[in-house]
């Protein structure tokens, strides 16, 4: 019996996912645990591993959105016949020849990178859609198909660009319409949601002399992982959150959820868009441990290999744009979290200390809080704590 490959539920609330591409072709041998296909959920794009060994007999869903639990392929022994799953088989007039010519085994093993609406470079479009595209000078490769199997149909083409009077010539440099990725849609939805939250901001300047020394010292102690200011900030914030439990909260309409551990999210600019992987239980980790976790998360975020669990359960977020030489900024809340810390770059500044002018490395950070969950004074006390931890790291012990 062939094993059905079903779309897994990779996190709470996941109802569907979008198959980006298969990493194996029909007829390829597959080992259990080997990456089988790339899946785009509303949070991440990740490779999904095969749950059985054998031969990939059939790809039932080559690409596109699929509900959780639906059969998307079959793994079995060579030559084994598979039937399309019942929920896949579309009603068809019986006489219609179901042409499924068996693929020769020597097909090119590398499937061309599939883009929406195309397979192996061939763009699927209805004749009407092709004619409209030809008349309007629209590149079909720029159009996302919404017809069956991703076929580009007329409405996909007519909705590109401006409707109305047909200009005789459309410049190729016209506005490019890129379909939204799931990550981009999620960013848009969640940040719009954040905008409805009453929020306030608190800004402080921090003397980073000792924190920088700590980073240096830690680097010497732990040469195997590159420790950064963000790691120290993560540790410091985690300690601060444990001391100010009123900060480690979420507003939940009829209750305030108070979390037992500091699960600190770190905003990462990944190629596909902003993602916020979480360092879970940061208060229990050493700076070096945090650095190792952080390096792994950021690396996988950039390679689009985060798993859903990496993104779930954050209670607080750090967004550090210091490396981009940003002096200071205000971050938008990362719902449902109640607070987010926006960190600027550290710059030498002239600071009066005990009546004398000193040149000190100063960092400006701004805390944004959900006022439904956190009051100004609570936020201020938290900020004062983490400022003192950064200026005198020993206090965090």
């Amino acid at each position: 019996m062939a094993t059905e490959v079903k779309l897994p539920r990779l996190g709470q609330g996941m109802e569907s996912g979008t198959i980006v591409k298969w990493l194996k072709s029909e007829g390829d041998p597959v080992e259990k645990g080997e990456a089988l296909y790339e899946l785009d959920t509303d949070k991440v794009t990740q490779e999904v591993e095969a749950e059985a060994s054998g031969v990939l007999l059939k790809i039932a869903v080559p690409e596109g959105e699929v509900e959780v639990g639906k059969t998307i392929g079959f793994i079995g022994s060579e030559g084994e016949a598979v039937s399309a799953p019942a929920d896949e088989a579309k009603p068809k007039a019986e006489e219609k020849p179901r042409e499924q010519a068996p693929k020769p085994v020597a097909e090119p093993a590398e499937p061309a990178p599939a883009t929406d609406g195309s397979t192996n470079g061939r763009i699927k479009a209805s004749p009407l859609a092709r004619r409209i595209a030809r008349e309007r000078g629209i590149e079909l490769s720029q159009v996302r198909g919404t017809g069956p199997d991703g076929r580009i149909v007329a409405v996909d083409v007519t909705s590109v660009g401006k409707p109305g009077e047909a200009e005789p010539e459309i410049r190729p440099a016209a506005v490019e319409s890129r379909p939204l990725s799931n990550v981009r849609k999620t960013i848009a939805r969640r940040l719009t949601q954040a905008w409805t939250v009453p929020a306030f901001q608190l800004t402080v300047n921090v003397d980073m002399t000792r924190a920088n020394e700590l980073v240096q010292g830690q680097r010497e102690l732990n040469p195997e992982v590159r420790i950064t200011v963000t790691d120290v900030l993560t540790k410091v914030c985690a300690q601060g959150l444990m001391r100010h439990r009123d900060m480690n909260v979420q507003y939940a309409d009829d209750a305030l959820l108070v979390f037992p551990s500091a699960d600190v999210g770190i905003a990462v600019a990944a190629p596909q868009g902003l993602v916020v992987p979480v360092v879970h239980g940061a208060e229990r980790l050493t700076i070096a441990q945090i650095a190792a976790v952080r390096a792994d998360l950021v690396g996988r975020a950039r390679d689009a290999k985060l798993r859903t669990g990496d993104l779930e359960g954050g209670t607080f977020t750090i967004s550090n744009l210091g490396m981009y030489d940003v002096d200071q900024f205000i971050a938008v809340l990362n719902p449902p979290q109640a607070s987010i810390l926006a960190v600027g770059s550290t710059r030498d500044q002239v600071v009066p200390v005990d009546g004398e002018l000193h040149v000190l490395p100063v960092m400006t950070m701004t805390l944004t809080c959900d006022h439904r969950a956190v009051d100004g004074a609570t936020g201020a006390e938290f900020l004062r704590t983490i400022t003192s931890f950064l200026e005198d790291p020993g206090l965090a012990l």
Binding site: G64, E65, K90, P91, A93, E94, E95, K96, S126, P127, L128, A129, R130, R131, G145, T146, G147, P148, G150, V153, A154
Partner: protein, 327 residues
Amino acid sequence: MPELSYREAVRDAIATAMREDQDVFIMGEDIAEMGGSMGVTHGLVDEFGHERVRNTPISEMALAGAAIGAALQGMRPIAEIMYEDFMTLAAEQVVNQAAKHRYMSGGQLKVPVVFRTQGGAGWSPGAQHAQQLEAWFVHIPGLKVVFPSTPEDVRGLLWSSIYDDNPVVFFEHRTLYGIKGSVPEKIEPIPIGKARVHREGEDVTVIATGRLVHESLKAAEEAEKEGISVEVVDPRTLQPLDEETLVASVKKTNRAVVAHEAVTRMGFGAEVASVLQYQAFDWLDAPIERVGARFTPLPFAPVMEAFVVPHAETVLEAIHRTVDRQS
């Protein structure tokens, strides 16, 4: 406007033509006293006598040949072939004789004969008494093929068939004999080769014949509740085919379903689909869907029969496939 059943409409066309024209007569098996196995010619023998309402021996080939001979001699005979299935027995005369004489004589001979026949599932007639063989005759140059679906159409088209100088194979559907519809007071001939748009729509054109016209209209009503606007067109004449009307409709809606009760394979819908894909290629936004019977002899058991032939739901499913979009 008076209301007639499909059966009465056929009878009215025959009777009116026979009243007005001595050249018109009808022959067939048990059509006189019995009124035909479907009751279509009921009462005609009383009015016109046995000379013009002629019972024939049980030989479709003989009665078809006799009708062709009469037609060649200047009469306008109507030959009733009791079941469409029995057209196979008359095929030699219809296909090799009637269809050829005008051509082979260089136009010197005319063959103004009508072969009226009927078929269709829905009443458990079994495998040998319900076939839909219209496509066979559409394939023969020299024949005209008519398949009306309403009382008005069957009356107006039978009239035109009687007065056409070419052999016409005239298909009636068994399950439509009882349906009623309003008809003009006086018979208005309907030109052969003219389709009828039963219902206008924007999203998909269903081109249906015979019983499937009515099933398609039901499907269109269902689709409308879902916001899908369906145009239903009945070609009425399969040969010659009103390609212009069909193509214009599909150019408007960009999607097409062809539907008939005959099996899909090599069915009339295949020809329509071919015409559409060629003439409306650049207007098609979805593959043309085909609806027809499953490829099997018709089962006798009612549930199996219902499973084999298409219904409104089958048409609706095809409509859905043409407008299918990914979310």
